[in-house]
Symmetry: C2
């Protein structure tokens, strides 16, 4: 499993607009082989921004990389409107990719979610 | 849902020891109400360290906070050996808590994992 994260430092006055943009978009992720789960996360508030992180779980790094070369990827980034994002955030989003080296789960609690 | 993350900047020569410490520990997480899932993640390699992130999914922020006040939390941190960690990393781990504001999933792919 592979987790792709993007960290966004969102200007505080742009938080509502940033959330509306993400929650209102048409996601193309579920058309992609190896896509497992996506979370949009609201993180801690800092002095000059609020941290957000998008967080996509893939079956493998290869599945993620195939997506970045797909038409679905281009469509998602066209829809998100890079210019609009740039005005809402301090700098560009910061990408970090992670390999899962251990997974533990509470099967009963997971089924209840 | 709430995701608690800790970011660790691990000295490159300590990577194997750091992974062995985590993978070999006795986890007490599954005894806790509201615990859903844990991942240990190996992130990007930087000039002077390799980034790791631990990443625990809870039913709510309240479930996470109850765990931090529990005997299970104290036992986990006693076992992890803070002093050992300090020598393996640049500085202390950096904690970030996130609220899940959107979740999308590929049910078929998830079942196959």
């Amino acid at each position: 499993m592979f987790i792709a994260m993007n960290r966004f430092k969102v200007l505080k006055e742009e938080r509502d607009a940033f959330e509306a943009l993400w929650l209102g978009r048409e996601s193309h992720l579920d058309k992609n082989p190896g896509f497992i789960e996506f979370h949009m996360l609201r993180g801690p508030e800092r002095e000059d921004h609020q941290l957000y992180s998008s967080h996509t779980i893939w079956a493998s790094r290869e599945a993620f990389e195939a997506w970045t070369r797909s038409e679905s990827f281009r469509a998602a980034h066209r829809d998100a409107g890079e210019n609009r994002n740039r005005r809402m955030t301090l700098g560009h989003p910061e990408f970090e990719g992670f390999e899962v080296i251990q997974k533990l789960e509470n099967v009963a609690q997971k089924a209840a979610e």
